[in-house]
């Protein structure tokens, strides 16, 4: 079997992976680092992030306030040591991107401009108009081109982690262009494969976001943490699920129901004011806004659309000039994909799946419990996001923890032995035979990829949507277990070795089924409501039993096991989440401490 070898291997070439690759190169230029990505890196989904990246930079702001907003936004499930490190390092990382050329929007005096964002008590979100993720990804990708030591495997898909002698030693991957299956060995591996929004039917996420890295680690016996916490973004376009950024509300947009009423005032989110108020109304956290939508639907106050109920986002009062300057992509998306102009028309929106708070369990340096294996970005769970991520925290997260994981993986590789165990090559050969047998030969199967994928998406949305119950989750778990069986019987039309995208879809589907199963089982076991996990049969937060991370693993016998790990509390004891105009008590105490 063909084998190539590196010191540090990145799986995934989005923002976290590219930032990690640069960190490896800067930690030790002699390390052979490589990035494997199933798409060309500049196609990665970081590209679609719109609104901005949070980082304390202005004189009226403080690290403690960013910590408090993040922790209360996460309903106290964040690890506070991780949040403190994150908040401290975010401004440095954003500044580093500025030095690499990121075209941040500016104030008239040339300093970085910041905007308001949901759940944030101060304006601290850096932005590049409303294409922040696009500019961050392209800046990172173009900057990696300057490092000759960063090698790339573009359009390769990783199917298995190679583990022997108690440490991760590389991966098996398939090159799409040629169909070649080979082992790529390394002394340390960092998984940066992003989220898994495609497990659900309506999502802001790109087609590539199929939870591959989470599934790889889960199959290797590694732990996934807090998988029940999935974020609905309150403002996606119906049908496509395309994101209309929170920045649209930060700039002053209103959410209105079918009567033109700013309904959020009925859900303990403050009083409507003409101008946006921080941590209030439309600038509340995403979990609460998405939940309010369901309540409006139950009250019959949403509007019927061809793809289900919607409410409306009203930007008309902002005027054409501000929309063009601050929200040009929102206008472009509405014009091109909905045939409407936000300058004169209301935008129909609904909650759509946006972000995975849970993921591969890591420590504060991106290390997983499997020696040699690291993870960063949306696929990982450190956790700084807890039960609900605040908007604009994910872009600095990929930078801070991408850099930390890169540095830690480089140091691990420096100390690791050179030799690759023969057992690893034997594993790789087995994996190649499995792939060829299951997919590339005529199998006699009868199931189509698309049929199972649609059934999975329906089951997960019905069972583990914005509101969940024991029976809805049990039904979903049952359906998923049947779909897992049916997926063994998939028949491909395509047996070609050249750019076989049907094979890729089948492999992605098996990843999604594993991730979906973890989401549903983790949700079933958490019998409380917290942040984005709302159980109508257990409507209260239960700190006595569940101020804890769920940790789901697959045992060697193939069963699922769920444990709970403590949450790290440093300075912010669990309190009530207060939004609206009143100042929460805790923040005053912390500020005066």
């Amino acid at each position: 079997m063909d084998t190539s070898s590196h010191d540090v291997l990145l799986v995934g070439g989005g923002g976290a992976g590219l930032r990690a690759a640069i960190a490896v190169a800067e930690t030790n230029p002699n390390l052979r680092v490589a990035v494997i990505s199933k798409v060309y890196p500049m196609r990665s989904h970081t590209v679609a992030a719109e609104g901005g990246a949070s980082g304390v930079i202005k004189a009226d702001d403080s690290l403690d306030e960013h910590c408090y907003d993040t922790i209360s936004g996460g309903d106290w499930l964040c690890d506070q040591d991780a949040v403190e490190a994150f908040v401290r390092e975010a401004p440095e990382e954003l500044l580093r991107l500025e030095h690499w050329g990121c075209p941040w929007s500016r104030e008239s005096n040339g300093h970085i401009a910041v905007r308001a964002f949901g759940g944030m008590k101060k304006k601290r979100t850096w932005f590049a108009a409303d294409k922040t993720g696009f500019h961050i990804l392209h800046t990172l990708f173009q900057t990696t081109l300057k490092y000759n030591e960063i090698q790339r495997y573009d359009e390769w898909f990783v199917t298995k982690l190679l583990i022997d002698d108690g440490r991760v030693q590389g991966v098996v991957a398939i090159e799409l262009m040629s169909g070649r299956i080979q082992a790529i060995t390394a002394k340390s591996v960092i998984v940066c494969t992003g989220g898994c929004g495609r497990v659900f039917p309506y999502t802001t996420n790109a087609a590539i976001k199929t939870g591959d890295g989470m599934a790889l680690v889960f199959r290797a016996g590694g732990p996934l943490k807090d998988m029940e916490f999935v974020q609905y973004h309150p403002t996606g376009l119906p049908f496509t699920g395309i994101l209309i950024t929170e920045a649209a509300r930060a700039e002053g947009g209103y959410l209105i129901n079918k009567d033109g009423y700013r309904y959020l005032q009925d859900y303990n989110l403050g009083r409507p004011e003409p101008r946006p108020v921080l941590r209030s109304m439309e600038l509340g956290p995403r979990d609460r806004l998405s939940q309010a939508f369901v309540k409006e639907l139950e009250r019959g106050r949403t509007t019927k659309g061809p793809y289900g109920p919607v409410v409306h986002l009203d930007l008309r009062h902002l005027g054409e000039r501000l929309i063009n300057q601050k929200l040009p992509f929102v206008r472009e998306l509405c014009l091109k994909y909905e045939g409407l102009d936000p300058v004169t028309d209301l935008i129909p929106v609904r909650p759509v799946i946006h972000y995975m708070m849970g993921g591969i369990s890591t420590d504060i340096d991106g290390a997983t419990p499997l020696p040699g294996l690291f993870a960063a970005g949306e696929c990982a769970c450190v956790s700084i996001n807890g039960a609900n991520r605040l908007g604009s925290n994910s872009l600095p997260e990929i930078l801070v923890f991408g850099a930390r994981a890169g540095k830690a993986a480089a140091e691990f590789a420096e100390a690791a032995p050179d030799a690759i165990s023969p057992a690893v090559i034997a594993q790789a050969n087995d994996e190649r035979r499995r792939l060829e047998q299951d997919f590339l030969h005529e199998s006699g199967g009868t199931e189509r990829v698309a049929t199972i994928r649609e059934a999975m998406q329906k089951a997960v949305e019905e069972g583990a949507g914005i509101y969940r119950t024991e029976s809805s989750l049990r039904d979903a778990a049952q359906e998923l277990s049947e779909l897992q069986e049916r997926a063994r019987n998939i028949s491909l039309d395509d047996h070609s070795r050249t750019f076989n995208t049907e094979l890729l879809s089948a492999l992605e589907l098996t990843c999604m089924l594993d991730v979906a199963t973890c989401i549903v089982h983790s949700a079933l076991h958490r019998t409380e409501s917290r942040g984005a996990h709302q159980r109508t049969d257990y409507p209260k937060r239960d700190d006595r039993n569940f101020l804890a991370h769920s940790v789901i693993t697959r045992t060697s016998s193939g069963n699922i096991r769920i444990d709970y790990a403590p949450v790290t509390i440093t300075r912010w004891p669990p309190g009530e989440r207060v939004y609206g105009q009143q100042q929460p008590e805790t923040i005053k105490q912390v500020a005066s401490a």
Binding site: V39, Y40, M42, R43, S44, H45, V47, A48, L95, R96, E98, H99, W100, G101, P103, S105, R106, E107, S108, N109, G110, H111, I112, K131, F134, H135, H138, Q142, T143, L145, K146, D154, M177, A206, A207, I208, F239, T240, I242, L243, P306, F329, E332, L333, K336, Y337, R448, V449, A450, L492, D493, D494, S496, R497, T498, F499, N500, T501, E502
Partner: protein, 250 residues
């Protein structure tokens, strides 16, 4: 409600099977909100799992889904089916690139060209502390050229890229100009040394097709013209000044 159908003629080519590309016909429903990409996914999911094409974000920002639609380069996700009624619609791989399979083209050559123009910020202080200040009007100088999503529609439209594969081409040149015009960058001279070679900018005959097809209004043609002007000035300076003096200036 009666959903109209449209005939899609999709280019098929498999190097393992076919000597030549050919068009295959499919009947696809035209829902009002469907774009070309929805039609291709309909074919792949329901009719023929072997149809091969790239796509990802379906919101015009990842740059994966450029195809020739009735001989024009378009983003599959940003082109509505209904505008082609009653049909047929012909979908082919982007022109001027080698075809890997069906609608997938080989773009590694472009990645090489991208690297050659040094598309990163060159600043003598490297990672020094503090913000590099930049006013909104300085940002505006290069903002337009920083919007390129690498979808390569401009290469498919460019007659020179078709004739001369070594021509660096519109997107990469616009990117070079994006950094040259960035007030924080000090690398224009370094880039000029690469680009003023014949295969750099001089190949462009200013047909302007690149700017016409660009879905993000990057205006590569404008960038190339500015570049030529700068290079011509540089050429005149070289002619007028003795070599040693020019070295000292740097």
């Amino acid at each position: 409600m009666n959903i109209p159908m449209i005939e899609m003629q999709v280019a098929r080519y498999s190097p393992e099977r076919d000597a030549q590309p050919y068009l295959q016909r499919f009947e696809v429903p035209v829902k009002p909100e469907w774009v070309i990409l929805d039609a291709l996914n309909y074919i792949k999911d329901k009719l023929d799992g072997t149809l091969t094409f790239r796509w990802s974000c379906r919101m015009g920002i990842c740059g994966s889904c450029g195809y020739m639609v009735n001989n024009e380069p378009k983003l599959g996700c940003a082109t509505f089916l209904s505008q082609y009624l009653p049909g047929p619609i012909k979908i082919e791989p982007l022109s001027n690139f080698p075809v890997v399979r069906d609608l997938v083209v080989e773009i590694s050559e472009f990645l090489e060209k991208l690297k050659r123009v040094k598309p990163w910020l060159i600043h003598e202080n490297g990672n020094g502390a503090g913000e590099y200040l930049q006013t909104p009007s300085q940002l505006e100088e290069f903002r337009q050229h920083s919007m390129c999503i690498n979808c390569l529609l401009c290469y498919a439209a460019c007659p020179i890229s078709g004739l001369d594969p070594v021509f660096i081409g519109p997107a990469a040149l616009a990117l070079a100009q994006r950094y040259n015009k960035d007030s924080r960058d000090q690398g224009a001279e370094e880039r000029m040394a690469i680009l003023s070679h014949p295969e750099g900018i001089w190949g462009c005959t200013f047909v302007g097709e690149c700017t016409k097809v660009c879905p993000k209004h990057v205006d590569p043609a404008g960038a190339i013209q500015q570049y030529k002007l700068a290079a011509a000035m540089e050429g005149i300076k070289q002619f007028l000044m003795p070599w040693g003096q020019r070295q000292e200036e740097r």
